[in-house]
């Protein structure tokens, strides 16, 4: 029991310096009102997504047959669609899907891209050439088209959409991280690691990768917004969410036919996409300003 407590204590102590850095970053971020606004907005979405079952008055596919096409009212804050579904609830449920997709795509793409980019940048030579040519092949395709092709080939559902987007997104991370790895490789601490006999694998994973986090974080945050837009866009065309699923892009597509009779059907999901990606962009911008040289305090 005692040793377990000691282990926990030492673990906390080990994380202390990172915690201090985190607090300093938050302090700097708080200085800009735009960043704070963005943060608040995206937090609302995140909370909505997590607590959807408790917040949303109706289920995502709940149909109330007498109440189709109703304009916004106290009972249905955003109105209802042609099947009687409550738009407000569906937007909240949609937050789950879109935010989850964004997280999955960016997370996986960043992971794959970082590993490939670090190895490529640090090792250089033929490995670098080979990996970069593979990356180039993927980058040569226009992203949207490639995603559509993959989604079409695998089958049109949300999981395959996610996979398609990961395939489209990882090369740009590889490029980015390779650049960072190239500049870190020349730094003195890498030479110091060699001087004590560190093997290349250790240098790449323990030394270079941690220094890649900051540029990665900035890019990732900005990308979250882009992925939401892209995923919604592809679903709108029909490559993602199937009919009737409460996903923002799909909802806009469904509401397209009723644009003049029931404009609320398409408008509110559209606003959700706009606000969420805008908020993520603001936060990402703020992070970029804050994370680089200023942290050399």
């Amino acid at each position: 029991m005692n040793t377990r407590k000691n282990f926990l204590n030492s673990w906390i102590k080990d994380l202390e310096p990172q915690w201090r850095e985190f607090k300093f970053t938050i302090y700097l971020l708080r200085q800009s009102p735009l960043v704070v606004a963005g943060f608040i907005i995206i937090s609302i979405f995140i909370i909505a997504a997590i607590f959807a079952p408790w917040i949303a008055p109706y289920g995502p596919e709940e149909r109330i047959w007498n109440e189709q096409m109703q304009s916004p009212s106290l009972k249905h804050l955003f109105g209802t669609d042609e099947n009687g579904g409550d738009i407000f609830s569906r937007v909240i449920w949609g937050a789950r899907i879109d935010l989850l997709i964004a997280l999955a795509v960016v997370g996986s793409a960043a992971l794959i891209g970082s590993v490939i980019g670090s190895i490529s940048g640090y090792m250089g030579g033929k490995i670098d050439e080979a990996l970069m040519r593979v990356t180039d092949v993927f980058l040569a395709f226009p992203g949207l088209i490639l995603a559509m092709a993959i989604a079409a080939a695998l089958g049109r559902n949300l999981i395959n959409l996610t996979i398609a987007l990961i395939v489209v997104w990882w090369p740009s991370y590889a490029r980015l991280i390779r650049g960072v790895a190239l500049s870190e490789r020349e730094k003195l601490y890498v030479e110091a690691a060699k001087a004590i006999g560190a093997k290349n694998a250790r240098i790449v994973f323990r030394h270079i990768l941690p220094n890649v986090i900051y540029p990665l974080l900035v890019n990732a945050t900005l990308d979250l917004g882009s992925v939401i837009l892209t995923a919604a866009g592809l679903s709108f065309i029909g490559f993602g969410a199937g009919a009737g699923i409460a996903e923002w892009g799909r909802m806009i597509s469904d509401g397209r036919n009723y644009l003049f009779q029931a404009p609320w059907m398409a408008t509110f999901p559209g606003l959700a996409i706009l606000l969420s990606s805008l908020a993520l962009n603001l936060v990402g911008d703020g992070l970029r300003d804050v994370l680089d040289p200023r942290l050399r305090r």
């Binding site: 300093f24 302090y27 700097l28 305090r297």
Partner: protein, 373 residues
């Protein structure tokens, strides 16, 4: 280089109670906490101290180049009858480069890499100098040369006409101004003993060596014959033999350009080499000020003594260097009373309670320490 300090010299720069603070996340950094400094006309003044003592902040404050989160919160900087801190931005801009010029430490980062050396010096000249007369003189020279080759009545008349206009020269075109400025740039490069100045004027900074780049920077600074020339660690990034050349150069041209030099450095060797007087800074304050010979022969402040002891000597051979215990204080949480007392081997009770004032203890030798009252 010997300035006769027995006659009361004219004071070029008078800094009184200058306070520059930096308002940061961690607290208020009191980089300068009330310094008084005088620079006399025609002398080479040294400002010496270690990292964090505030010497660079001093030079930036004089030129009012302090950026937020820094701010000059109090004080006066008297330069030629004007308080620089009360001038407008526009007036200050006219002074920078023309009346007060500065050379920084690393010529690689402070010089514009995409402009030629000639472009950059010419820019300074065109900004601050009225080149009407020079343009006219150039024209006259050109025509005179042509006259020597080919005798022509019309040319002779033209030259006479231009010569008459010398007292009231016409406004030149931009091209003519630039040409005149380039000519002056070559002249000033020759002044700093740059080899092949006509060629250097067309070269980019990366084509020059470190020493030559620094010469170009010095040329840029001297191009408008400033009254005060500030060298902020100007030779720190240079090799020793090149540094010797540059210091030698500064000495020689001081008289020719009629300028006073403020040398900011951490190297007491440089101070011994070319400074007439020197002020020692510690933690945002000036703690000793004296003529160079007096400071080295008879250092009064314990910090100065410690500093001189810590330098490995070329002559004599102690096996251990006598160090100053402890380290430079945090400028946010300064020690009470005298800032040096936690590290001072002569510290007394009063040192902790009261901050000592900078007072003249011997002739022309000021020190701020409770040991001397």
């Amino acid at each position: 280089m010997e300035v006769n300090l027995s006659e009361l010299p004219e004071t070029l720069l008078k800094i009184r109670n200058l306070k520059t603070y930096f308002f940061t996340y961690a607290g208020v950094v009191k980089a300068l906490d009330g310094i008084n400094l005088d620079v006399y006309k025609g002398e080479t003044m040294g400002l010496v101290g270690e990292t964090g003592c505030g010497k660079s902040v001093t030079s930036l404050s004089i030129l009012r180049l302090i950026q937020p989160p820094g701010k000059i919160v109090e004080g006066e900087i008297w330069f030629k009858e004007k308080d620089l801190l009360k001038l407008t931005d526009e007036e200050m801009r006219k002074i920078r480069g023309k009346e007060i010029a500065m050379v920084f430490q690393d010529p690689a980062t402070y010089i514009n890499p995409v402009l030629t050396v000639g472009d950059q010096i010419a820019e300074v000249i065109m900004l601050h100098q009225d080149l009407k007369k020079d343009v006219l003189e150039m024209k006259i020279e050109e025509l005179t040369k042509r006259l020597e080759e080919k005798q022509n009545e019309k040319l002779k008349d033209k030259i006479e006409e231009l010569k008459k206009a010398l007292n009231n020269p016409p406004a030149p075109t931009k091209r003519e101004t630039k040409k005149a400025a380039y000519k002056k740039a070559v002249e000033v490069l020759r002044l700093v003993k740059m080899p092949y100045p006509e060629k250097v004027v067309t070269q980019y900074p990366h084509e020059l060596s470190g020493g030559m780049r620094q010469r170009a920077m010095i040329a840029m600074a001297l191009s408008c014959k400033p009254d005060l020339f500030i060298a902020d660690e100007a030779t720190t990034a240079l090799d020793v033999t090149i540094q010797a050349q540059i210091l030698n150069l500064l000495n020689e041209i001081k008289k020719e350009v009629e300028t006073s030099i403020l040398i900011i450095t951490h190297d007491l060797g440089i101070v011994a080499e070319i400074c007439d007087r020197v002020a020692v800074m510690y933690a945002g304050l000036i703690i000793e000020e004296a003529e160079t010979l007096s400071l080295f022969k008879n250092p009064l402040h314990p910090y100065t003594k410690g500093l001189l002891n810590a330098i490995p000597k070329l002559h004599g051979n102690p096996s251990r260097l006598k160090t100053i215990s402890g380290s430079v204080p945090n400028l946010i949480n300064l020690p009470s009373g005298c800032r040096f007392h936690p590290r001072c081997e002569y510290a007394m009770d009063i040192c902790q309670k009261q901050e000592p004032k900078l007072i003249e203890v011997e002739k022309n030798h000021k020190v701020s320490c409770h040991l001397y009252r």
